[in-house]
Symmetry: C2
Subunit: 101 residues, 2 copies
């Protein structure tokens, strides 16, 4: 599936978006994405979260919930800034590709 190349960025924007609204953790965001018709495997998801954190877009904090350790991620201000940039790009894409300006 080459198509995937087209949408992987969308998934990352989704992640950033959700993390800007509330704390999220890996398994949860995977399910959330699945609800939107995307799939992401742990071998892609976790390295991605790590990268986003390393880039300063997300900040993590571990919490124990029902005896299980979860790593909650929240968007930083830098992350929110990138999200806004992304929104702008999405709007441009809509104007160019969908609205047939």
């Amino acid at each position: 599936m080459l198509d995937r190349e087209f949408f992987l960025g969308f998934i990352k924007i989704h992640i950033l978006y959700h993390a800007s609204k509330e704390s999220i953790f890996g398994t949860e965001i995977a399910q959330e994405l699945a609800r939107h018709g995307y799939s992401i495997s742990p071998g892609t998801l976790y390295p991605t979260l790590h990268r986003l954190e390393k880039a300063g877009y997300l900040k993590s904090s571990s919490q124990v919930v029902e005896g299980k350790v979860r790593k909650y991620y929240l968007a930083t201000s830098a992350g929110k800034r990138v999200l806004e940039q992304s929104k702008k790009k999405i709007r441009e894409l809509v104007t160019e590709v969908i609205e047939e300006r």
Copy 2:
């Protein structure tokens, strides 16, 4: 720049879109993308075009223009189909991430 991961898919959708409207060739699409604030180097562009063709989304034909060989690409019906899928995904992304449904 991690941000790039976010937008590479956008670039590919752009390419598919333009190739669905009219024949395009590499250097031209690179300039067109630059006009939209994207940059893509030849080391990324040409392999991408090759992949899109191999996947059956684009079809190429060589032409000589002003003494230079150009390889024009046009979207196939499969390519247009993927483009429509992409548009749908973009609309979903807008609904979810921008319109704050």
